[in-house]
């Protein structure tokens, strides 16, 4: 666990003496670098003049199921975009699957927040999942029998077989997240980058999706997901990184999600009652759209 001493200069000294959970990742980045799926060192980035993330060090090993938590505007989505190669670092170094971000893009599947998807777009469930196969096909080539088999298997896995011909706007919130996870599965990636994959879904969907992500991680895939749901992060994720413009803490979920770390991550948005911490944060109030992004709010399914 890494606490940045510059983060809050008025913190009590005791806080800085917390045991370091991942000394090799934090203090010897070079050692962790060679086999890491995601490796960042001293990374700062943002939009136009606005800094969104500062001095981020992070190493994520293959087979990790990592939750990124933090308040709205803390830079969770920015961190994912950095990993996906959608945003360049201003300072510092980022390596994804051992190379510059974007170099191994076909082995990476990124799922954007639901608000960034135009649900009125004339595509069906089958079309969207097939898009996961597009980058591997290259120009001109049409999807073949293998691609259709992979798409069917992905739809089976997320429980959306039989909905292939449904336009995506007609799906419920949970079904929409299932379909986008199926698209990621169909790409057969080594690294999953999922922005709020279980936000605003019913409990059954959350359990189903987390089962799938767990299974992928067990198979050696790296799964990194942002979430607002601290209970889910604590119970279903193996590791957690808490973010508030910096990585506040990173380590096994049971150790990271203690009131002290949460207080540091969430500041005034945290209510601590005895040994229970409650985040006063609106899960449905997502980050502000960046320049060039438009948000599509989900309407009721028709």
């Amino acid at each position: 666990m890494s606490f940045d001493p510059h983060d809050h200069p008025h913190d009590h000294p005791a806080e800085r003496q917390l045991p370091s959970l991942e000394p090799e990742a934090v203090h010897h980045p070079e050692h962790a670098r060679h086999h890491a799926s995601v490796w960042m060192s001293g990374v700062t980035t943002g939009y136009d003049d606005r800094t969104a993330l500062e001095d981020v060090d992070l190493a994520v090993d293959p087979g990790t199921l990592l939750a990124i938590v933090g308040p709205n505007g803390a830079g969770k989505s920015t961190l994912l975009k950095l990993m996906a190669g959608l945003l360049p670092p201003w300072h510092g170094r980022v390596e994804i699957l051992g190379d510059a971000p974007g170099r191994h893009a076909r082995r990476v599947a990124y799922v954007p927040q639901a608000e960034l998807v135009d649900w009125a777009f004339p595509v069906t469930v089958g079309d969207v999942v097939m898009m996961g196969r597009y980058p591997g096909l290259g120009p001109w080539r049409r999807p073949g029998a293998t691609d259709r088999r992979v798409v069917d298997a992905a739809l089976d896995k997320v429980g959306m077989r039989g909905h292939e011909a449904t336009q995506i706007g007609r799906l419920s919130g949970g079904q929409r997240r299932r379909v986008f996870l199926a698209r990621a599965l169909a790409a057969d990636p080594e690294l999953y980058l999922l922005d709020e994959p279980v936000t605003g879904v019913d409990a059954t969907t959350q359990e189903d999706l987390m089962d799938i992500l767990e299974e992928e991680a067990r198979a050696g895939k790296t799964v990194i997901a942002t979430t607002h749901d601290l209970a889910c992060a604590a119970q279903r994720f193996q590791k957690v990184a808490t973010v508030n413009r910096r990585i506040v803490a990173h380590g096994p979920s049971s150790l990271v999600l203690d009131p002290e770390v949460l207080a540091k991550t969430y500041g005034g948005h945290l209510l601590v009652l005895g040994d229970k911490a409650m985040v006063l944060d609106d899960a449905h109030h997502h980050d502000q759209p960046e320049e060039g992004e438009s948000h599509f709010h989900e309407g009721a399914p028709r």
Partner: protein, 292 residues
């Protein structure tokens, strides 16, 4: 039958008919992406930006296609850069470019001694004066646009639907967007003589928008748009012949009539359908996605 057959006896009408159908086809294909990307305004800007190119080509004495293509493709790429790099709102930047380039065209036009009817026809189109050379150029450039879309069909679809997901998975989305803007520019260039600078945006947007009201599948939307566009081109041209009115404007009016008819009685979004089933047409009424 005379209504249909009599005009076909004139070669100029047959050429105009072929040109109108081809322009309708290419515009509907490219327009499907334009509507889904929500960049109708960019199409309008590019078409106006072609005007100084046409005038300059006339002054220098080169084919108007060349001048229009240089100006339109140049502007489309400038828009592509501006929308990515500039720190002002995209629609503001495009509004400035749009008016500035068109004003430059009018300025150039006014420096020419005497009245140049030929140039004026590019503002409103002149289908009935389509020459054989025009048709050949139209077929070649239109074929180029259609072939590019056929090759990059999947990539353009993915990049239009989910640019972030597409870019993260290795598609070169920035490059695809630049290429697409260049395709829009080429489509506009080949439509200028037929429909004219002022109305060409309707050819791009209206058939695709009508098709979006009728179907929820991308491929069917494109096919429906093509059928509607060609039908409007043929109907409009015949109407303009018999009524002796402007052909480009009549075609656009027929397209607009199709759109309004589908809006009112369409099976999915029509007001009648809504009254029958008692449910809202909902987000399907969205014509395109705004990205400003």
């Amino acid at each position: 039958m005379d209504f249909v057959l009599e005009p076909l006896a004139s070669a100029f009408f047959v050429r105009a008919l072929l040109a109108a159908a081809l322009v309708g086809l290419v515009c509907a294909v490219v327009g499907t992406y334009v509507v889904l990307k929500g960049i109708a305004f960019i199409g309008d800007a590019i078409s106006h930006a072609a005007f100084p190119g046409v005038v300059a080509a006339f002054i220098i004495g080169v084919p108007y296609y060349l001048g229009a293509a240089v100006a339109a493709v140049g502007t489309s790429l400038a828009i592509g850069v501006v929308t990515r790099r500039a720190r002002i709102r995209t629609d503001t930047a495009i509004g400035v470019l749009f008016a500035g380039t068109f004003a430059f065209g009018v300025f150039l036009y006014s420096t020419i001694e005497g009245y140049v009817a030929d140039l004026f026809s590019f503002l409103f189109g002149q289908l009935l004066s389509t020459s054989v050379e025009d048709l050949v150029a139209l077929a070649l450039l239109g074929g180029l646009v259609l072939a590019t879309v056929a090759i990059l069909w999947k990539e353009l679809l993915y990049a239009t639907f989910d640019p972030l997901g597409a870019a993260a998975s290795g598609l070169r989305v920035e490059w695809l967007e630049m290429l697409f803007l260049a395709l829009v520019a080429l489509t506009i260039v080949i439509s200028l003589q037929a429909i004219g600078i002022i109305l060409v945006v309707a050819m791009l947007v209206t058939p695709a928008a009508t098709a979006q009201l009728l179907t929820v599948r991308f491929g069917r939307m494109m096919a429906t748009g093509v059928v509607l566009a060609i039908a409007a081109s043929i109907t409009g041209l015949y109407l303009s012949y018999w009524l002796d009115v402007a052909s480009g404007a009549t075609i656009v009016l027929v397209q607009t009539a199709f759109f309004l008819a589908v809006l009112v009685v369409g099976p999915r979004t029509g007001w009648l359908a809504r009254r029958r089933t008692g449910r809202s047409a909902g987000p399907d009424m969205t014509i395109g996605r705004r990205r400003t």
